[in-house]
C-alpha cells in the first residue's frame, strides 16, 4: 500500500499540502464508510485504497460492511439489474426482506460516527437510523443510474430524500426528481498500482515477447473483457479496414469469467472473426494480470475503447495516464475523459473509428499532441489523489451550505 508521500513525485508537494490542510479540518470528525462487501468488486477496491490514505492524512475514517444472506444478495442483485433498466420483477416480499436485513444490520452495527458514507443501494435503508444516531449522511451511488425501472427508483428515492447529500459518477446519472444536493465525483485510477505504475522497458519487452507481439510495428490495442457491449467484433472490422493501408497489429486483451457463457461465446466469435490473421492477438487474461495489461498499454501506438455502452470506462483514463493517443466511443463517462480533438478522439461508428485510427497512425506528431494533453487531463482529473480531495471536500460540504466556503 503506497504512502501518501509517494504521490508527491506525481502531483507535487503543493497538492499534497492541500490534502493535509483539508484533512486537518476534519480531524475531530469520524467518518464511517459502509458498503456490502470487504473484498471483490470496484467499491471494495476503492475503499481498500481510500480508507488507509484518509487515515494517513489524520482523518478518523472507518469502514464497516453490512451482513446479509443469499436471499438478501439475490434481491440486491435484482435491484442492481433493475437500476440498469432490466425488466425484472421485484416483489413486495423482496422489498420487505431488503428493509428487514437493513434494519437488523442497523441494530447490530456500531453506528457511532459524525459522518456516514453509505455506498450503493445494499445498505441504503440504514438511513432510517439517522434520527437516533444523528450525524450527517451521504449516499454514494457507484452505478449507472440513467435508465432505472420506475418501481426501483421510487423505492430508493424514499431513502435518498433522507440523506444530506448524494454522489454520482457521471453528470448523466443526476436526476431532477432528487431534491437533496447531488455531487459529481468521478472514479479514479491509482498511478502507483501495478496496472498504472511506470514499468522498466525490459518488463514491457518480456510481456510483449510472451504474447509474440512485434514492437517494431504499430500496435493498436483495446483492453476490455470479452463482452458484446465492448464491441470487440467492431474493433476487428476497424482494424481490417486500416490494415489495407498500414501494416499494424491488433491486440484485444482482457479477462472475463470462464463460467460466463456469454463471455466465452463472445471470445469464440472474436477468434472466428480474427480467423488466420497472425497480426490479431487475442489475449484472454486471468485475474491479477495487471502488469501484463500495463505493459501492453505502454507498448501500444494507439488505444481504442469502442464500447457500445460504458459505466465510466476507466480503461480510458489508464491509457491517457500512460500518454497514449486514445480513440473511444462517446458513451458513459468517456466524454468526461476525452475532449474531442483536444485530449483524444471521440467516435460514434466503425467508419469514424477507422478514419481517425488511420489519421493517428499516419500522423504521429498529432497523436503525440493528443496523448500529451490526455496525460495532463488524466493527471489533473482522474488520479486517486483528486478522488481523495473530493471526498474531503464532500465531507466538509456537509456542514457548509454557502457557495464559497472560506476555510
Amino acid at each position: 500500500m503506497p504512502d501518501i508521500k509517494d504521490y508527491v513525485s506525481i502531483i507535487g508537494k503543493e497538492k499534497i499540502d492541500d490534502l493535509c490542510f483539508l484533512a486537518e479540518k476534519l480531524t475531530d470528525m469520524s467518518i464511517l464508510n459502509i458498503n456490502s462487501t470487504a473484498v471483490g468488486g470496484g467499491v471494495a477496491e476503492i475503499l481498500s485504497r481510500m480508507v488507509p490514505l484518509l487515515r494517513q492524512l489524520g482523518v478518523n475514517a472507518k469502514w464497516d460492511v453490512i451482513k446479509g444472506d443469499e436471499k438478501f444478495f439475490n434481491i440486491t442483485k435484482k435491484l442492481h439489474n433493475a437500476l440498469h433498466g432490466v425488466d425484472i420483477t421485484i416483489t413486495k416480499d423482496d422489498f420487505e426482506y431488503f428493509i428487514e436485513v437493513n434494519r437488523t444490520n442497523a441494530e447490530e452495527m456500531d453506528l457511532s460516527s459524525d459522518i456516514f458514507f453509505v455506498h450503493d443501494p445494499q445498505p441504503i435503508a440504514l438511513i432510517d437510523k439517522k434520527k437516533k444516531v444523528k450525524g450527517k449522511w451521504a449516499w454514494r451511488c457507484h452505478i449507472d443510474f440513467t435508465n432505472p425501472r420506475r418501481e426501483v427508483i421510487e423505492f430508493l428515492k424514499s431513502y435518498i430524500r433522507k440523506y444530506d447529500s448524494t454522489i454520482f459518477s457521471a453528470p448523466a446519472f443526476a436526476r431532477k426528481d432528487i431534491k437533496v444536493p447531488q455531487v459529481l465525483i468521478s472514479p479514479s485510477i491509482d498511478p502507483l498500482s501495478d496496472k498504472n505504475k511506470e514499468l522498466p522497458e525490459e518488463t514491457i519487452d518480456k510481456v510483449l515477447e510472451k504474447f509474440k507481439i512485434d514492437r517494431d510495428r504499430p500496435i493498436v490495442t483495446q483492453i476490455s473483457r470479452f463482452d458484446y457491449l465492448k464491441d470487440p467484433l467492431g474493433v476487428i472490422k476497424v482494424y481490417k479496414k486500416v490494415k489495407k493501408y498500414i501494416d499494424c497489429q491488433l491486440v484485444l486483451a482482457g479477462g472475463g469469467a470462464t463460467d460466463d457463457p456469454e463471455g466465452m461465446q463472445v471470445l469464440n466469435e472474436v477468434r472466428d472473426a480474427a480467423s488466420n490473421d497472425k497480426d490479431i492477438h487475442i489475449i484472454f487474461l486471468p485475474p491479477g494480470s495487471d502488469i501484463e495489461i500495463n505493459a501492453i498499454q505502454r507498448a501500444s501506438t494507439v488505444i481504442l475503447q469502442k464500447s457500445l455502452k460504458e459505466g465510466f470506462g476507466l480503461t480510458v483514463a489508464e491509457a491517457l495516464w500512460k500518454s497514449k493517443p486514445v480513440i473511444a466511443s462517446a458513451v458513459g463517462g468517456i466524454p468526461l475523459q476525452i475532449t474531442h480533438k483536444y485530449s483524444g478522439i471521440l467516435t460514434y461508428s466503425i467508419d469514424g473509428t477507422f478514419h481517425f485510427l488511420k489519421e493517428l497512425l499516419n500522423e504521429p506528431e498529432y497523436a503525440k499532441k493528443l496523448a500529451k494533453n490526455g496525460h495532463e487531463h488524466a493527471k489533473n482529473n482522474f488520479l486517486i489523489t483528486r478522488h481523495l480531495r473530493e471526498y474531503l471536500l464532500l465531507f466538509l460540504s456537509l456542514s457548509h451550505k454557502e457557495d464559497i466556503v472560506y476555510l
Binding site: G12, E14, K15, D17, D18, F21, L22, F168, P171, A172, F173, A174, R175, K176, D177, I178, P181, Q182, V183, L184, I185, A330, V331, P335, T339, H340, K341, Y342, S343, Y348, K372, N373, E376, H377, N380, N381, R389, E390, L393, L394, L396, S397, H400, E402, D403, I404, V405, Y406, L407
Partner: protein, 213 residues
C-alpha cells in the same frame, strides 16, 4: 515601503449536479435562465482549470457543446467569442449568453435535438478557499513563490478576484499597486487570462514582475 504582505490562497471545486439538461438551443436557453449563478461561473470557467495545458480555446462549456457536440458552429463561435474579461459580474455574463441564444433562435426558427447521451448537463460548484504556506513580503519573494504555487492558487488570484469579488484587475495587481508599482499593476491588470493557458499566464506574470522589480 512598508506594505501588507501578500498571502497566497488556493481553491478547489466540489461539482454539484443540477439534474437539468438541454438537448437543443431552446432548452439550453431555458437552463441558462434558471440555473444559479455559480452554475454560470462553473460553465464559463471550468475549462480553464481542467484543461489548463491546452491552447487557449475552448473557453466555455456552452461554446464547446454547441460547436463540437451539436455542431452549430455559428452559435458556438458566438459563445466562444464572448469577451469574458469585459464583464464585471456573472449576471451580466449570463445576460450575454441569453441575448446570443435568443437572437439565434429567433433567426433560425427551428432546431433539432442532439443524439441521446450527448445532452448538455447543467452543473454548479461549491468553491473552497484556503490559505497556502506562501507569503510574499516584496517582489523578490513574490517572484520565487509564483514559480512554486499550484495552478489552483494562480487561478484563484486571477479569476475569482474579478468576477466573484468584483475587484478591478486581480489580486496581484491590487497588491502591486499598494507597493507603489503602478506600471506593473496596470500591466498585470490588463492581462486577458481567458486567452492564455494558466502555465502561459504564470510565465507572463513572472516576466512582468522581473521587468519592474
Amino acid at each position: 515601503m512598508k506594505n501588507k504582505p501578500f498571502h497566497f490562497y488556493t481553491q478547489y471545486y466540489l461539482v454539484e449536479l443540477l439534474g437539468i439538461k438541454a438537448r437543443n438551443p431552446e432548452e439550453l436557453l431555458k437552463g441558462i435562465k434558471k440555473v444559479p449563478e455559480p452554475s454560470i461561473y462553473y460553465h464559463t470557467h471550468k475549462f480553464l482549470q481542467q484543461h489548463l495545458y491546452l491552447s487557449p480555446e475552448p473557453p466555455n462549456d456552452f461554446g464547446y457543446w454547441t460547436s463540437s457536440i451539436i455542431n452549430l458552429k455559428e452559435l458556438g463561435e458566438a459563445f466562444t467569442s464572448i469577451d469574458t474579461i469585459s464583464f464585471k459580474n456573472l449576471e451580466d455574463l449570463r445576460e450575454e449568453f441569453i441575448r446570443i441564444l435568443e437572437e439565434y433562435i429567433e433567426n433560425k426558427g427551428y432546431s433539432v435535438n442532439c443524439q441521446c447521451g450527448q445532452e448538455f448537463h447543467f452543473m454548479s460548484c461549491k468553491t473552497f478557499v484556503f490559505p497556502t504556506r506562501f507569503v510574499a513580503h516584496d517582489l523578490k519573494e513574490f517572484t520565487k513563490i509564483i514559480k512554486k504555487i499550484s495552478i489552483n492558487s494562480l487561478y484563484l488570484h486571477i479569476f475569482e478576484a474579478r468576477l466573484r469579488k468584483g475587484i478591478d484587475g486581480n489580486d496581484f495587481s491590487k497588491w502591486f499597486k499598494g507597493l507603489g508599482k503602478d506600471k506593473l499593476a496596470d500591466e498585470i491588470a490588463k492581462l486577458d487570462p481567458y486567452t492564455i493557458t494558466l502555465e502561459g499566464l504564470r510565465e507572463k506574470i513572472l516576466r512582468l514582475v522581473k521587468k519592474y522589480a
